[in-house]
């Protein structure tokens, strides 16, 4: 084969295009470009983008042979060795225009291409141009600002001196970031999965002999291989998901067989040789079908597992009815009595749609057998929890399982709890060699989703607008397997009352099995569903009673210091102040004239609200101060772009009185790292951060005690600052003290810290909530009454960070989450036809782009200082997704007088609602939409 010769980042190179026919593979493989990575593999996201002769090229969809004789530029080529970064790279770093960094090389290059053709673009042009690439994390505002700033830097209009870069920033913006998929070990095999084409079927037989005989195939695994496992199923509380299908498949895409082979192509070829004899069974596509009398059963017998403990007012049941995997009920007060005497009772029903996480880095696991045990690199948010699950599944002691966790290419819940790690381990053990299983984005769509839900709320209200009692019945569509559904049911049921004062509550949430993609953790974790229904209904109630929606909320909001519910922790945000501030920003009470006769404008507000920080959590941390006085943090929070590592660095820097640049973060490795229960529930800053702070305090104490002995002065007369011990005006570098005592070979100081949120049976969820996470949202919309299209004119999304340790990260979290919610509200959803997923590729699954940004988008950070975390901090990671959908629903009603209760609000649905209203007004009676 004749090599394809071209110029790569300024240097001549030649590759065998037959061996690597796709440019992305040629660049990331033989050419060694770490900045070129494939995410969607479909031309849809732009993560793989490079420039060919200065023009954007989608390298996952470009044949290598077409670049012969041309100049290819990757993000690495923008910054010559040791040279200054490009203006775009600099603006991206200084403007925090990335989080996980998966999209960053493509975004940077796209911006370069824009500025090369138009050095001074307007904001609208930037928005339109950058709308070519997907970022799942940032919400685009920061990217847009960075491109505009890069234009100013390039032109010399702005001359501010550059700031120094943190290592992870440099890595992301120059294409040297290292993700799990980049891990390679000798003898590594590639795994692929054969997935069920049936939504529900019995497996009669699986014939794998032909696949096993294919040259290059090393191991084939099916349900028969589960016989030797100590526990063949996993799941949170309800362990119903087999490592690989055993007797049945329960959704399209359910793994049926897996092959490990010398490369991905061979593994795929082997899968095509596997014959599976299915006996198709009737399937249930929806919650209604699943609950119908005589409905086909997904599981004929109870699953393994044990429920977590609950506290006051809660009953929880495992698999209480056919196809119901879990039921949560929270009761407080005498609901019947309050309803009997209430002035008004309002009954409304809401349908919440279902999104995919669609992380640009999908799930990837590398498993390597090690003696009796194994070693794992996995894109997982919960390494220690995963270790425990794997120990249960394989019947191995935990110390024989070692899990490394690298920086993740975003997660949003996709990577929490056990996923395909046991299957990868099974393959690796059978093969006796390391195996890598990297899901494609298409497979990600079939692996986990958010929970669709129907929420029926009955709310009793006094004539003056006082909220009295609420009864709710919530059905979550859990899909085929439990995953984290039981906990999501707890959360949606406990949160559906919102941050208001109630006399009585009776909220039931059921997680129902259907033959669709399993549902599990998703940013917001039940809070999004609860807030959509509750905050929509509050507005409906206000309008029905002729009350102002803001006033209704102000009248009923819980003030700081008052427990959320009896026995639980107190509200730690000033909800009134936040609401008033957001209402003012949105110009609440003022109605702007429409811009055209067929357009109508309206405003809406909402307060999304959830508990955060996890339940009864335990986290440990260790801070080492090395011989030169600098510090290294060890804790198991997984960084997935949320900025946790930087928050920890700043916490330690504050305690040790040094620059955060002198603090680094060790990689997560369960053999070495301090224990943590996992990175979820926005607990990193508030919970693990507190453990880190305590560890820093501890090491500081040890250093001062040591120095006190050396200097012969009391420890409390000393200070530790900038790597030196100070006594009055005297300052002695720690290094010198260490040398003096320990000799030239040096020493280190170690501090441990930990935090346990105590259990408490008076609290409904068996531990008081660590902190409360409000999301005040104000929005102005414009509804096209002829087409039903909704445009966002102004979106204000606010959160309380307690104290914002890394303000730019806080802002990025609010904006990214809010844009996810914008997508969910207006278009983004998994669309099923029965049990068949229609939006099953990245091109068909529409994700928000910069072109979907509201005309004005403001994120507001409050620092109300009441958090339980370090220095009063709270997390904000999920806040922005909570309130947007209901605020938009409320604004639409304000604009055109129709109430939409089913997400997403597509133009079709809006127009149908307008038609129904017109018919109703014409006197044909109310019309169901």
């Amino acid at each position: 084969m004749i090599d394809t010769a071209f110029t790569l980042d300024g240097a001549a190179i030649a590759v065998d295009a037959a061996a690597a026919p796709i440019l992305a593979d040629a660049l990331s493989g033989p050419c060694g470009c770490s900045g070129v990575r494939v995410a969607c593999d479909h031309g849809a996201c732009g993560a793989c983008m490079v420039l060919v002769d200065g023009v954007p090229a989608t390298s996952c969809s470009t044949l290598t042979a077409t670049v012969a004789g041309r100049a290819v530029t990757t993000v690495a080529g923008l910054r010559p060795a040791q040279g200054p970064p490009s203006a775009v790279q600099r603006a991206f770093v200084e403007g925090a225009a990335f989080q996980c960094g998966m999209c960053t090389p493509g975004m940077v290059l796209l911006a370069e291409a824009l500025l090369d053709r138009n050095p001074a673009p307007e904001r609208a042009e930037v928005r339109a141009w950058m709308g070519a690439n997907v970022c799942r994390c940032t919400g685009y505002r920061a990217i847009e600002d960075a491109v505009l700033r890069a234009a100013a830097l390039r032109s010399g209009e702005e001359e501010a001196p550059p700031r120094s870069w943190r290592p992870e920033e440099a890595a992301k913006v120059t294409g040297t970031a290292f993700f799990t998929t980049d891990v390679t070990v000798p003898g590594l095999l590639e795994a692929k999965i054969l997935r069920s084409p049936h939504a529900h079927a019995r497996i009669r037989a699986i014939h794998t002999a032909a696949a096993a005989r294919l040259p290059g195939v090393v191991a084939v695994v099916t349900g028969a291989d589960l016989a030797d496992l100590a526990e063949p199923c996993y799941g949170l509380w309800v362990k119903d998901q087999p490592v690989i299908a055993q007797d049945k498949v329960r959704h399209v895409g359910d793994p049926v067989a897996a092959v490990a082979a010398r490369d991905a192509a061979t593994a795929l070829a082997a899968l095509a040789l596997i014959e599976v004899e299915y006996e198709p069974l009737p399937a249930v596509a929806t919650v209604e079908e699943a609950l119908a009398p005589g409905a086909p059963l997904l599981f004929e017998a109870p699953s393994a597992g044990r429920l977590g403990p609950h506290g006051a007012g809660v009953t929880s049941l495992k698999e209480p009815e056919p196809n119901v995997l879990y039921e949560f009920r929270h009761r407080m007060g005498d609901v019947d009595a309050v309803f009997a005497t209430a002035d008004h009772v309002f009954c409304d029903s809401f349908d919440f749609s279902r999104m995919s996480h669609a992380c640009l880095e999908s799930i990837v696991t590398i498993a390597r057998p090690m003696g009796e045990g194994f070693e794992l690199w996995s894109s997982n948010q919960d390494p220690f929890f995963l270790r425990q699950d794997l120990s249960d599944i394989f019947g191995l002691p935990e110390h024989l399982i070692r899990i490394h966790t690298l920086h993740l290419g975003s997660a949003f819940g996709l990577k929490s709890y056990c996923k395909l790690e046991p299957l990868t381990v099974l393959l690796a053990r059978k093969a006796g060699r390391p195996v890598r299983l990297a899901l494609t984005m298409d497979e990600g769509f079939l692996t986990l989703s958010q929970h669709a839900a129907r929420l029926q709320l009955q709310t009793a209200v006094a004539a003056d607008g006082r909220l009295l009692a609420r009864r709710s019945l919530i059905h979550l569509d859990a899909g085929a397997y439990a995953d984290g559904s039981a906990l999501v049911a707890d959360k949606v049921g406990y949160r559906v009352g919102g941050p208001y004062l109630w006399e009585a509550l009776d909220n039931r949430a059921l997680a129902v099995r259907t033959n669709t993609v399993p549902a599990g953790s998703y940013r917001g974790f039940g809070g999004t569903q609860a807030a959509f229904a509750s905050e929509s209904q509050l507005d409906m109630i206000a309008r029905r009673l002729g009350l102002d929606p803001v006033a209704l909320r102000l009248r009923n909001l819980l003030p700081p210091g008052v427990p959320y519910r009896p026995g639980d922790s107190a509200i730690d945000s000033d909800l009134h102040a936040g609401l008033e501030a957001v209402a003012a920003r949105i110009g609440w009470g003022r109605r702007e004239p429409p811009r055209a006769p067929h357009l109508a404008r309206g405003k809406g507000i909402a307060i999304g609200f959830k508990d955060a920080g996890g339940q009864g959590r335990f986290a440990q941390a260790q801070v080492k101060v090395v011989g030169d006085g600098r510090a290294i943090i060890s804790c198991a929070t997984v960084d997935m772009g949320q900025g946790a590592s930087e928050a920890f660095r700043r916490i330690v820097a504050e305690v040790l009185k040094m620059s955060p640049a002198n603090v680094s973060r060790a990689e997560v490795d369960t053999d070495q790292t301090a224990f943590d229960q996992g990175t979820h529930a926005s607990s990193a800053t508030a919970v693990t951060g507190e453990a880190v702070r305590r560890a820093a305090e501890a090491v500081r104490g040890r250093i001062l005690a040591f120095a006190a002995g050396q200097l012969d002065v009391p420890a409390d007369a000393l200070d530790y600052r900038d790597g030196a011990v100070r006594h009055g005006n005297e300052s002695v570098p720690l290094k010198d003290l260490v040398r003096g005592y320990y000799g030239g070979l040096g020493a280190e100081f170690t501090g441990q810290g930990e935090i346990k949120i105590e259990t408490c049976k008076e609290a409904a969820l068996f531990a008081q909530i660590v902190y409360w996470m409000p999301n005040w949202v104000g929005v102005e919309v414009e509804v096209d009454m002829e087409t039903g299209k909704v445009a966002l004119l102004h979106l204000v999304s606010a959160a309380d960070a307690g104290r914002a340790l890394v303000p730019e990260a806080v802002r990025g979290q609010i904006e990214g989450a809010s844009m996810q919610a914008v997508g969910q509200t207006l278009f983004e959803q998994l669309v099923f036809d029965g049990t068949e997923l229609l939006t099953d590729t990245p091109q068909r699954y529409r994700m928000p782009l910069s072109t979907d940004l509201p005309e004005r988008f403001e994120s507001v950070i409050f620092e109300q200082g009441m958090g339980r975390g370090p220095f009063g901090a709270k997390g904000v990671g999920e806040a922005g997704i909570l309130g947007v959908s209901s605020a938009i629903a409320n604004a639409i009603e304000d604009a055109v007088g129709v109430r939409l209760t089913a997400l997403p609000f597509t133009p079709d649905k809006v127009l149908a609602a307008l038609d129904a209203k017109a018919l109703d007004e014409a006197g044909s009676g109310p019309v169901a939409v």
Partner: protein, 301 residues
């Protein structure tokens, strides 16, 4: 009911009786193929005929995506290296767009901006900046994907394809391409007719309701009077639906005043939509005339 794809070609059919390979769309699935670089269209034609099953390729976005889905062409004939294949020229009464001309070249071409400015402006808004940079105008048309915008816009302008088959060059109207007429052809260029010297040719386009639908309108005007108006509905059918707007002979003012009626007449008999996953039929029938009515008013300004 499995659906055909909104964007890409329908998933490849598995061998008779074999189960569908679920979620196996990946570049690792691409079977070995021969990459053939054509030096001229004539050479491309010969290469295509000499390699049965071979496909012509411009930007490659669709060709590569289809190979990831399991389509296995034995050879790919690349047109991108043919000298001048991406050129845009003015020949007689036509604008001639070469088969390798990329969207972005069309949108930014000074010649197009001078001769048919609306075409350049509209083309700069389709797809996305990255896709426009790589995808070819002809590739967009020949991909036969209902959601792609090229066919509707070009049909509105009455564009023609110049094709080379078995060494013979012929011209065929884009609007006449029928769904079943998918025999392999090699397009060498697209011809877009320009307005008569005394007249003006407008092209206006509303893509705000994609993926449900998009509407294009071309208008030939002379001395303030409509000579011809052609409306096209895209994204709803395998091929765009082209309709004459009964506005001929009216002044622009009259056309604007009667826009709702004219739009309703033009789109009175829309065939059944064949892309049901992208929107409800009732909705599309309802809003298509709305968008057209707005375009009629916009074009009259």
């Amino acid at each position: 009911m499995p659906q055909a794809s909104l964007f890409s070609a329908p998933p490849p059919v598995s061998p008779e009786g074999a189960p569908r390979l679920v979620a196996h769309r990946t570049r690792h699935r691409i079977a070995p193929f021969r990459f053939l670089r054509a030096e001229s269209f004539e050479a491309a034609d010969i290469l295509l005929r000499a390699n049965p099953g071979a496909v012509p390729m411009a930007g490659g976005l669709d060709v590569v995506n289809r190979m990831k889905e399991g389509v296995t062409p034995p050879a790919v004939v690349w047109l991108g290296a043919i000298p001048g294949a991406d050129a845009i020229t003015h020949e007689g009464d036509d604008l001639v767009i070469g088969a390798a001309c990329r969207h972005d070249q069309l949108a930014t071409s000074p010649l197009v901006q001078a001769l048919l400015p609306d075409l350049a402006a509209v083309w700069g808004r389709i797809a996305s900046s990255r896709i426009r940079a790589q995808g070819a105008v002809v590739g967009n048309v020949m991909a036969d994907v209902p959601a792609y915008e090229g066919p509707a816009l070009l049909a509105a302008l009455g564009a023609q394809l110049t094709v080379l088959a078995n060494g013979r060059s012929e011209t065929l109207a884009l609007a006449d391409r029928q769904e079943e007429a998918t025999a392999p052809v090699l397009v060498t260029a697209l011809r877009v007719p320009l307005a008569a010297p005394s007249g003006v040719r407008r092209l206006v386009y509303d893509r705000s309701l994609r993926p449900a639908l998009a509407v294009a309108l071309s208008l030939d005007v002379a001395d303030g009077q409509v000579l011809a108006a052609r409306a096209v509905l895209g994204a709803g059918h395998a091929r765009p639906v082209v309709r004459a707007v009964p506005a001929t002979g009216r002044t622009l003012g009259e056309m604007a005043a009667q826009a709702p009626d004219l739009a309703a007449q033009a789109f009175a008999d829309l065939p059944d939509f064949t892309t049901p996953w992208a929107g409800r039929t009732a909705y599309r029938r309802r809003v298509a005339p709305q968008l057209l009515s707005r375009l009629l008013k916009e074009a009259a300004r």
